[in-house]
Subunit: 137 residues, 2 copies
DNA sequence: TCAACAAATGAACACATGCTCATATGATAT
DNA sequence: ATATCATATGAGCATGTGTTCATTTGTTGA
C-alpha cells in the first residue's frame, strides 16, 4: 500500500546495516550454547520436509492402514503412477517405507512405526487449532 | 545407465496407461473411507511445512529458551535481519509465535507449547535414526 | 524369445521458496 | 519536525520441488 517514493534516503554515508545496540548478548550466547548443533537442526528440517507435502502425507496415511502396491496407492489418491512412484522413492530413501516384491508387483509398507506418532501429533495439533481458531487457519 | 534406444515401442495402438488389473479395490475403498479428509491432510502438510526449513527450525529452537527480539535472533543465527523478519512473519501467520512490542523493539515468543513436543519427537527420531543407520542418512 | 504389464526413472516444465537489496513503517528522543 | 534506530515488506533472483511425458527396467506367461 505504498503511496509514493517522494524522497529516497537523504544523506547516508554508507549502506544501512542492522547493528542493533539493543540486543542481549548474554542471552544470545547462552542460547547458542544450549541449542542442538546446526547440522542436527538441518537434518531435523530435512526430516520434516518429508511430511511437508500432501501427496506424501496421504501416501503415509494410506500405508498406516495396510501395505499396498503402487497401483493401489495411485488409484486411492487418484493420481498418476509416475507421480506416486517418484514420491515413494523419496519415502524409501528417507527410510520411512520399505518394499517387498511379489512378481511384477511391488508392495510398499511403513518402515518405521514412530512415524505414526509424529503424524498423529501433528494431526491433533491442527484439529485442535482448527477448533480454537474457528476455521480461520 | 541406459545404453541405447535400439527400438522404440514396436506396435501399440494407444499410449500406455497404467490400468493395473492387480489392484485390490476393496482395500482401496476401505482405506479411502478411513483416511482423514483430503483437506485435513493438506492442512497437515502445510503445518509440517513450517518445520521444513532449517532457519525456521532454528528460530523456534531459540525461542524455546526465551523470548527474543529480531536482532537477537539474527545475531544468534548469524543471518540478516530481513531474512529473519520474513521467516518470523511466516511463523506469526501460522500462529506459532506471538509478538510483544516494547518501544522500538519487538519481542517474539512461542505461542504454542505443543510445538515443543512435536519438535522433540522429530529430534528424537532423527537422533535415534542416526544411531541405527550409523550416520548413513 | 517376445508381448504384456507393474514399476522406476530422466528430462522438461511450471510453480514455490528463501534470501538479498532497497526502502517503508513505526517508535523514540532531541 | 526530524534524525535515528528496530522492524517490516515488496521486488527480484536463484534454487528447489512436484508433476507429466516418454521411456526403461524387471518380471511373468505364452
Amino acid at each position: 500500500m505504498k503511496i509514493q517514493n517522494v524522497e529516497k534516503k537523504p544523506q547516508q554515508s554508507e549502506p544501512y546495516v542492522c547493528e542493533c545496540k539493543e540486543t542481549h548478548p548474554d542471552l544470545v550466547k547462552k542460547t547458542q550454547s544450549q541449542m542442538p548443533s546446526i547440522e542436527t537442526l538441518y537434518d531435523l528440517s530435512e526430516f520434516f520436509k518429508v511430511f511437508a507435502d500432501s501427496t506424501r502425507i496421504r501416501i503415509l496415511c494410506a500405508l498406516f492402514e495396510s501395505e499396498m502396491c503402487v497401483c493401489d496407492i495411485a488409484e486411492l489418491l487418484e493420481m498418476g503412477q509416475s507421480a506416486i512412484s517418484h514420491q515413494l522413492r523419496l519415502l524409501r530413501t528417507s527410510h520411512l517405507v520399505r518394499t517387498r516384491r511379489e512378481g511384477k508387483t511391488v508392495y510398499y509398507a511403513l518402515d518405521d512405526e514412530h512415524i505414526r506418532l509424529i503424524f498423529n501429533q501433528g494431526l491433533e495439533h491442527i484439529l485442535h487449532r482448527r477448533y480454537s481458531h474457528d476455521q480461520k487457519v
